[in-house]
């Protein structure tokens, strides 16, 4: 029972690891707090469902979700770089626009993806391919493989000329400009790629859960950020290879923590609807910790 439950949260952690990598790219590399995520995550799921209902296979569906996410990110980047709308507001504006757009795509607030309706997912394909392997291990292996592929590709991207320029933009925009690179372009690239990953994560979750809900994106940006900072607290990597690794570890640990809260939290009266509060407090505590520690230290010195 405990083992199965652990396995489930590891799968979730890997799946949301892709989202966390997207959040890492904007929040950490670009220093752009991008709230588009709460809209681009359900967008990915909605686009996937839309395609599935029209008989499109899951791989193409995930590709479409990836592109849709990139477009959403591009729109946010456009608002910020062209219209000079502040970063937070740009993301919120796209997010709110996407709520209606997602409803349009889905046609109704929630839809299910099921084999009975003839929808195929990457998971059903895998199961049909390897019928002798237990499904839970198949899912685990697939998600692990996928998130590692995404991680390695992201690592490679961040080492390319464009990727390096994206990272430099988050560090010192004036320098990037002085070195002949248009920081608006690097921002557009970074935010688009970030939301493409987020939408891919949404498309995966739609298949994993078997349904899409219009409200599934609420709080996802904070969940992603929680993963990023939990990873930072646990591993403190310095090079890109380790930093992206720690984002995934952070995601898995965060999902385990929420699963434990959901399963045994009832002892202290924890209800499923308390989950967002749990996540919010977790992020607040980790972000406040260094400041509080410093204040306490100063108090002692005085």
């Amino acid at each position: 029972m405990i083992f199965e439950f652990l396995l489930y949260s590891v799968q979730e952690g890997l799946l949301f690891g892709i989202l966390a990598l997207g959040v890492f790219l904007t929040f950490r590399c670009l220093d752009f707090p991008d709230l588009t995520v709460d809209g681009s995550y359900p967008l990915g799921a909605a686009v996937f469902a839309f395609m599935a209902y029209r008989g499109v296979g899951p791989v193409a569906g995930m590709g479409a979700a990836f592109l849709a996410g990139a477009m959403a990110g591009f729109f946010t980047g456009f608002l910020h770089t062209f219209s000079r709308i502040p970063a937070l507001l740009s993301g919120i504006l796209t997010m709110i626009c996407l709520y209606s757009i997602n409803l349009r795509i889905m046609g109704r607030p929630n839809i299910s993806l099921s084999e009975n309706l003839g929808h195929r997912t990457v998971f059903t394909i895998l199961r049909d391919f390897f019928p002798q392997i237990p499904e839970v291990y198949l899912r685990l292996a697939f998600l692990l493989g996928l998130v590692l592929v995404v991680k390695v590709l992201l690592d490679l991207f961040l080492r390319t000329e464009i990727g390096l320029a994206v990272r430099a933009t988050g560090d010192n925009e004036a320098l990037v400009e002085a070195q002949g690179i248009n920081p608006d372009h690097t921002k557009l690239v970074g935010i688009s790629l970030s939301n493409a990953l987020v939408a891919l994560s949404g498309a995966l979750f739609a298949q994993f859960q078997g349904f899409v809900d219009i409200n599934m994106g609420i709080g996802m940006v904070i969940a992603g950020l929680a993963s990023v900072i939990v990873g930072e607290v646990l591993l403190r990597g310095r090079f890109i290879f380790w930093i992206t690794f720690q984002v995934i570890v952070g995601s898995v640990v965060y999902r385990m923590a929420t699963a434990i809260a959901l399963n045994w939290g009832y002892v202290i009266g924890f209800q499923p609807y308390d989950l967002k509060l749990f996540t919010g407090l977790l992020v607040i505590i980790i972000l406040s910790f260094p400041v509080v520690r410093e204040r306490l230290r100063l108090k002692k010195v005085r």
Binding site: L175, A178, G180
Partner: protein, 265 residues
């Protein structure tokens, strides 16, 4: 090389805060000429550099580099002609990236950035060679993050990055002002060597009158947004700081108001 024709820039026009930072300024800098610029606070020195680098555009007038008009060219597009080092030692480098990553950004300046891996082995050799010229041992620290370096080391790296992409003109905005005297001297020497070796034109803003006279080929004194004294050649060689200040008073009918300049002379 660099030519400014009756360039004017006014901040907050038609408001009580209106400030005419640069007024009808014309200037011709010849290839390989190293120009030092002095002037009291608010004289328009930094505004002049910002107009050349494209941080903002002039209200009137034209700016040319190599005969090509760049008056309204966006900053990142004219960056290929220019190298720039600032007073703030954090401004010229990216602190969270490593030394080699910083150099890689500067290395292929002006060329289109693609999906090639940014740092490859042959490039590292070039970086090591260039870094060894600084004489700071940075060539052995390619993979250290720039945030770990001292202010002087960062400024030396910024200087190298500014000149790595073969610019035509180097813009230096009090780039030694935040360093201790010994380091400042070292950076100034390095600056001079880099400018001479690459035959760059340079505009250097400084508060140090001694520095302004002992480095470079030509010294401009600015006041209220225009050039009021322009010294070069023998005339400049023979002038002392006292004479310089005297001539300023003669021209402007006021004293040169700059405590820092007087103290540091």
């Amino acid at each position: 090389m660099l030519r400014l024709e009756r360039v004017s820039k006014c901040f907050f026009p038609n408001t009580p805060d209106e400030r005419r930072a640069v007024r009808e300024l014309s200037l011709l800098v010849r290839p390989g000429e190293f120009v030092t610029i002095v002037g009291s606070n608010g004289a328009g020195k930094t505004t002049l550099l910002n107009l050349v680098s494209g941080q903002y555009f002039p209200d009137r007038g034209k700016i040319f580099i190599n005969g090509q008009e760049i008056t309204y060219l966006p900053a990142y597009k004219r960056a290929q002609f220019l190298g720039r080092v600032f007073q703030n030692t954090f401004q010229g480098t990216a602190a969270s990236l490593t030394i080699e990553e910083n150099l890689a950004i500067a290395f292929r300046k002006g060329q289109k950035k693609g999906l090639k891996i940014a740092i490859r082995e042959p490039m590292r050799e070039v970086f090591k060679e260039k870094l060894s010229l600084l004489g700071l041992g940075l060539e052995r620290r390619l993979r250290d993050r720039v945030g770990l370096l001292s202010g002087g080391q960062r400024q030396a790296l910024a200087l190298l990055m500014a000149t790595l992409g073969n610019p035509k003109i180097l813009l230096l905005d009090e780039h030694t002002a935040n360093l201790d005297p010994k380091t400042a001297q070292k950076i100034m020497k390095l600056t001079d060597e880099l400018i001479r070796d690459s035959e760059l034109s340079a505009l250097m803003v400084t508060h140090n009158l001694q520095e302004a006279l002992s480095f470079g080929d030509r010294t401009l004194m600015m006041d209220e947004g225009d050039i009021v004294l322009d010294l070069s050649g023998q005339e400049r060689k023979n002038v002392t700081i006292e004479e310089l200040l005297e001539r300023f008073s003669e021209v402007r009918h006021k004293k040169f108001a700059e405590d820092r300049a007087l103290l540091s002379s």
